[in-house]
Assembly symmetry: C5
Homo-oligomer: 364 residues x 5
């Protein structure tokens, strides 16, 4: 178990931390990943068309004994570093040890597993930090039953605050619809978050693109590489998210009723849209590397050419000084009173002509 509390983690490019569990039998509950929350908070929101009750469950035991007073309810957990809490929730809702293991294991690949009585979903939520220009991501798991939704997050991110508000005010008739609609609303929030992150990556890419053409410098290569790595991280989360939603759409309609299916299809369209935008951004970034390399090569060539031309200007002038520096006894001009100045004039004319020729050819 990790002890250090980190406020928010930078996305590791290849978070393969599974190895910590090597040698443990299947279903062992161990938290794998950084501890991102100070403490574990379990909130229970019971609701129906008539009203809504919100309770904070303070002890693990309270989780096991909770009996919501209304038709539908939503249990939300922040902070996954206390396996004990998970164990109690698992007992209360009869969750399979493998599902509990996946909830605690925070480098899961997005997927949907059908356990008969409930559906287990796991996805990633991304955040973009403008000040550091970095992205971070967290795992969020859902357990969707007949009349309830359980959600598990690594820390309080405020991602689901909007849904909580809709429930409180019954906006969009959310309280009148089933728990499947609540699950949809949460999933929709997860998907929407990708749009913001992708938009910011795309903006960074376009502003970098303009810089690249005008003034290629070595730092841009690092920025490009960072962009590439970021899109790669997003890609690894969005593609399986699309498959997840597609699985929900194509599977028998036990958990998501036909009415909610329409909304799920909308989420599916969003994931497809995200994937296309992401791939377009990746294409753009790939083509920016070509531009960077040819701009760089173009600029360096220009510089070397300019320098060579300057060298060419000095060559004939130096030759003239050499000629008049020879020790022949009989040489023209040497005895001339203005010979020296004639020579200088000659050098000046030659240098100017060469400079002019190359300037005309735009080589300078």
């Amino acid at each position: 178990m990790v002890k250090k509390v980190l406020p928010k983690g930078r996305v590791k490019k290849n978070s393969i931390k599974h190895s910590k569990k090597v040698g443990l039998p299947a279903g062992s509950l161990v938290h794998i990943g950084e501890r991102k929350a100070e403490e574990t908070r379990v909130t229970l929101i019971a609701y129906d068309a008539a009203g809504i009750d919100e309770t904070l469950l303070e002890t693990p035991a309270a989780c096991r004994e909770c009996r919501p007073g209304r038709e539908k309810f939503w249990l939300n957990v922040h902070g996954l570093h206390e396996p004990e809490v998970l164990k109690e929730i698992g007992r209360r809702f009869n969750i399979h040890p493998l599902a509990l293991e996946d909830i605690l294991n925070t480098d899961q690949r997005p997927k949907a597993d059908d356990y008969g009585d409930y559906l287990y979903l796991v996805a990633r939520i991304f955040d973009y930090h403008p000040e550091t220009q970095e992205i971070s991501s967290e795992q969020v798991s859902f357990v969707i039953g007949e009349n309830y939704v359980l959600s598990f997050q690594e820390r309080a991110t405020g991602n689901f605050a909007a849904v909580r508000d809709w429930l409180r005010g019954d906006r969009g008739r959310i309280r009148q619809l089933g728990a499947d609609y609540l699950a949809y609303a949460l999933l929709d929030q997860v998907t929407d978050r990708y749009f913001s992150v992708l938009e910011q990556i795309s903006d960074r890419a376009e502003s970098l693109e303009e810089d690249l053409i005008e003034n290629p410098v070595a730092e841009q290569l690092t920025a490009l590489h960072q962009l590439k790595t970021d899109t790669l991280s997003l890609r690894r989360a969005i593609w399986p998210l699309r498959d997840l939603v597609n699985t929900l759409l194509r599977s028998e309609q036990r958990f998501f009723k036909p009415d909610t299916q329409l909304y799920l299809r909308d989420v599916y369209d969003h994931t497809v849209h995200l994937i296309e935008s992401l791939e377009a951004t990746r294409d753009l970034i790939a083509s920016m590397l070509d531009i960077y390399l040819s701009s760089l090569s173009n600029r360096v060539n220009k510089e070397v050419r300019a320098l060579t031309v300057v060298a060419l200007i000095f060559m004939p002038t130096t030759l003239i000084t050499g000629i008049f520096g020879m020790n022949f006894q009989f040489m023209p001009l040497l005895a001339d009173h203005n010979g020296f100045f004639y020579a200088l004039l000659l050098m000046g004319i030659i240098a100017t002509s060469i400079g002019f020729i190359f300037w005309r050819r735009r080589w300078l």
Copy 2:
């Protein structure tokens, strides 16, 4: 809601503006995108084999109450910035809030959604502006019911003027055929527009190609990159358009009757043709970058070589001046009356020989 009215928008490479809606429940009617039309215009064209009536619906309420006097009708909307109009049409035709949301959200990916009573289609129309050599695109949505077609455009583009004329003159027996044939005719217009745009992009690519081989300059790289981005934009619109038409073809023949299916298959062939031409253009552009880079490298190499050769010509001549500039007391030629000219002659011969050798080897 966007206030500024833009006559026609340049295609943003990655128009991800979805984020504006984050935090709103599903089905909220908000116009997302640039406002491109001054005002919203709703026209109703009711027709049957006998005749045609055209009406301009002036208020949102008129949309709700419209009762066309003929068998089939076409309702066309220009300008999407007034959600109120959409809401009234939605009420009149019983359109699902998600479909209305998609109509207003002008960065939709082309798709076809079956809502039971009607079919919702969304596509993009492209325009090429020769003066700026830029392409722009707009979203067009269709709602296809049993005996009606609703179309929604961001602004009046004149794309459907031809169809209106056919209806007026009953060319191609369009008034005698069902509303599904009208829907086909409109979709065909959308597809045809891609041919013009692609033809112009292809022409630009071919003229750039000839330039590239003859005289590679840095500006061409930017033009190439622009072409690449344009084909990318087209690609993102055509591929899903093909899928859209394919969906219509493969789905049960509720909205498109067998006779119209033949025509739809023709549209499908066009989209496949478009995709192949587009991919060929993209291949051409990719291979042009290779040509650009090697032409550039070829030219720079030639220049550096030419310069080096010139430098080589000056080296032996300068050596000769150095030799005759040495201060030995006993040196041949120094006392000779023509020694200076012999030396100059020697230099001339050497320079000419070197120049000739390299000229023979085509290095100059």
Copy 3:
């Protein structure tokens, strides 16, 4: 309609001429493409096991009224610039306007459309012109009915002369077999033509390859690019041709009887073989660009290196002239009678040594 008669057209890389028809309703008969034939010629070959009758139909009206006297027949049309002829044939054989439109529109993508009573096939025939090293292509359409085959070509190419001969002499029992076997024979001729063209492209590629390694010059890049564009043109015609034959094989055996299916499978194998050879040629061409670039870079590097070495030889010799050109009052050798020659000797020794060192290292 295009007025100019072109003997044979060079393949445009991206022949998107569809835009000429924008704004016309579906089924409008307009010839799109270059006019390649002087006049339209319609020949009717009626045949059965007993004999063969050949007739030239001179007027459009004759097309409508033709009643062949034998069991099976083949109607061949050269020259597509007279829509009137097509219209009459369409009336006679009850051909759908969309099929007629596709026949006239000579940039069709190869495809097979089933119209119930007949099958409509469209493909491309390629020609290689050794004198210009260019390839050209034409569209050929077939309408295959129960006991007839109609073929439409842009001009008389002689591609089907062999089939006509087989019919006349009943070689391979072609007259005894059905019209489907005739259709197969024609399709086989089309496919065989690709082998010749591909063979020539492949030969060009291999001879270019040998040149490239030995002596890379800038012209080869253009040749390579031309080869690439040619293979791209072929590719765009062969892949859909394979799909076309595959469609015929997999569809219900209405037009092609089981016996002929065996022969069709042979044509299918040929198209697969063609595709693999083409892709191998494309791979070869792609790898030739790498060779070209590294050979070029290799050669330029060698030249620059050689030049630099020559420069290095002159440097120490020039330094020696400089040393003996200094104006010190007390310098060794200056007063020596052979000092000058000693200095020259020293220069010679140094220059020779450097030259020898670099020659040993194979730098010269």
Copy 4:
């Protein structure tokens, strides 16, 4: 048969040793591969909920006659160089000659073959050796019957020690579950091992990445190439492993009961996760080559530029010495007492100015 005993073999990039068997009829038992174990060890672990018996079978004959006293058992073989042992086991368990051949042939591709009475699985286990930074791999085969599991390894690696411990202590109720759960547990150990290896490769890649950007040297290219080859080896083992597990999941549930299927699905998710991490690492490595090349080119360009600038500083100063070295009788300054120092001063000013200009432009 190979005689030399190698402690652990380095992964050959392309271990194609199949050719040794060319000319032998199918089912010939010959050990192909390196001999990695000193001697063959056969251990029999019989277990049920009540207890566990462990026996070491010392002779080949003992293998044929073994009758375990408990419900389920696991027979493990280390060392595959004695075909005789395999033959006896094959006789006892009625194993098909082709399966025995595959067990001995240690360059098998991971696969699952259903032989009716039992399932034959073959996979690879990878090891990473930190001291040499190399990876090695071994083949492991399983024969899974109704109530038994046979496992065959090239040498004792300790990979299954954990499973043996669980059996001894009945951790995770492993003794109470069927032989299929034991097979799952072993397969899970194999999969987990990949995580460690991939994590280490990924760490190496990331540390190399940082080096690359800061200080590109030629050795990194070899390291990159080694990384690429290692990921290629892993890839060739993981992709078919995923197919293997997928086959087990999709096939009829004869060997793996529904309860165990859930666990197999977990293994499947792990293989998918592995593949994605691996592909991400490969992407990273591919993009590192680009960085390496541009960093290298950047650095070399900087150096050549710096050198050229230095050359430029010496050119005008040398020109001045040349000018004052000319032999004109009338030249200014020559007779001046401080002329020499004026000239030196001039040279100093020029050199400093040029140096300053280029320093300002960051060229030095």
Copy 5:
């Protein structure tokens, strides 16, 4: 028909010789390809569990009349340049003209065609010639009937000698099993041959790889290209071979009985293994080109840098000679008795310092 007898043909990269047949009706028996055998040899091996009879059929007519005295038989033909022999065999076994045509046409793509009474298979056998480091390939066809196998080879290669030996000695009970097992054994020999060839290509690639890193020379590029072309040839033969075996496995079990299917599955695994090894080798080769190019660029850069440094050493020394070569009347040191040596010393110090600085920076 080709007259020249070639002992063994080098693989043409793109053997498209189909064009020779253009204009002939389907089923025309013409040998296409090089004539590789002196004479056509037809051997008949009749066998059953009891014994084996071997006969050499000397005339074409003997082929038609052969009536083997045992249950199963194998007819093997070497040399395909005599269509007459094929025609007689075709008549005897009732083989379809298209199959006979494919046997004679020696650039067939590997495939399996089901003709109802018999199965027609065609594949390629590869050979590696160590002395020339080239690979060659030949076509081998099989006709598999109920109780017989016909095999057709271009020349006697000894590839099937092992199978003949097994038949003679009844090794692996081959005589007791059906003709389908014989067909499997022959196919297995064909597949095994690929392993040897691929192993040798792979060895060549690995030895070239080591050379590349240590000492990149231009010849390696040609070797790399040759390797690439060879793998391409293999690839074009192995991929369809896998499809062929897969077809046999998935088709109804008319020709291959369930017992033999197990063995066919083994052959299938081999082809998959071959494909993966081949693709890995191709990856290796592709990555070697990168290494070659960067090694080359690295080495050239080092050389140019070394040369430039040497140039830099001569510049300041030449400047000093220039300074003391100026003609000022008042200059220090000139009158000094050791001035000349002081100047030389100064030059020496400067040159040594520069040399030392660059040596420290590892530039020399």
